[in-house]
């Protein structure tokens, strides 16, 4: 498993504001580079979903109750066959192990709590730092 505390070596680093146009532009840019490196089709679907969930979690949950002016730090590095991505917010963090299982029958009708499970389902590796304010993901193409 990747160590979420370790910054991704050689990554592009962006401090991202809570602005939908800026978020969309960054995601499209990342997906464009990913496609150039062979991540199309289901891989692109997986990467888009995981990035969206990580960024949404950072702003909506990580910065909940904090200033909307706070930025999150996004790191990404893409090479053929390997996509790495990290999101760090400036909030107090959370304990991902304390999240209830959203697939249990008693939780199916609850509207929240699926972001982390989707990241884990679609990425090859997902890890959080001890504080729980930084998530790091890696997607390895099946043929890599």
């Amino acid at each position: 498993m990747p160590d979420a505390n370790t910054h991704i070596e050689g990554a592009h680093v962006v401090d991202l504001a809570h602005d939908r146009d800026a978020i969309t532009a960054l995601i499209e840019q990342i997906l464009g580079v990913a496609e150039q490196n062979g991540f199309g089709g289901s891989a692109a679907f997986a990467i888009r979903l995981a990035i969206e969930e990580a960024i949404t979690n950072a702003f909506e949950h990580g910065h909940k109750g904090l200033s909307d002016d706070l930025t999150i730090r996004v790191e990404h590095r893409i090479e053929p066959g390997v996509f790495e991505f990290a999101v760090e917010d400036q909030g107090p963090g959370f304990q991902p192990s304390a999240l209830p299982d959203p697939t249990l029958l008693e939780n199916l009708s609850k509207p929240s709590g699926r972001g982390v499970m989707l990241m884990k389902a679609y990425m090859s590796e997902v890890s959080f730092n001890a504080q729980g304010n930084r998530v790091k993901m890696r997607y390895i193409a099946p043929s890599a």
Binding site: I23, T56, S109
Partner: protein, 118 residues
């Protein structure tokens, strides 16, 4: 009120809901969609909604959350919600989250229409 992100049409007591956007991802957009559909639910004593995903390429867990909220509101009024035309990649998201067990999902809107009671 911002521009609607939905196309609504009614046929034989069933309201068909279609999305304008191919990506249903960001919170503000999802909240607007949720409010607009909630408005439709509140108009009816027993709401009957058919949501088609025919134009949709991507959705997020926040969008799933909005669908669950809509489903809960319809159930409270003893109404019916059916979903149709879900892209296979998106259907996989429903399977992973087991929400395919919560929702009535059909391949086409025609099949969904036949599934409504009465």
């Amino acid at each position: 009120m911002s521009e609607s992100r939905l196309r609504l049409s009614e046929n034989e007591g069933v309201t068909l809901v279609e999305f304008v956007d191919r990506n249903i991802l960001d919170e503000a957009n999802i909240q607007a969609i949720n409010e607009e559909i909630t408005g439709e639910i509140e108009k009816s004593d027993t709401p009957r909604l058919l949501i088609s995903f025919s134009n949709v390429d991507h959705l997020s867990s926040a969008a799933l959350g909005a669908l669950i909220t809509i489903n809960n509101k319809i159930k409270e009024k003893a109404g019916e919600l059916h979903l149709a035309n879900i892209d296979p990649q998106i259907y996989e998201v429903f399977v992973i989250t087991r929400l395919n067990k919560l929702f009535n999902i059909h391949d086409t809107t025609d099949e969904a229409r036949e599934a409504f009671a009465n």
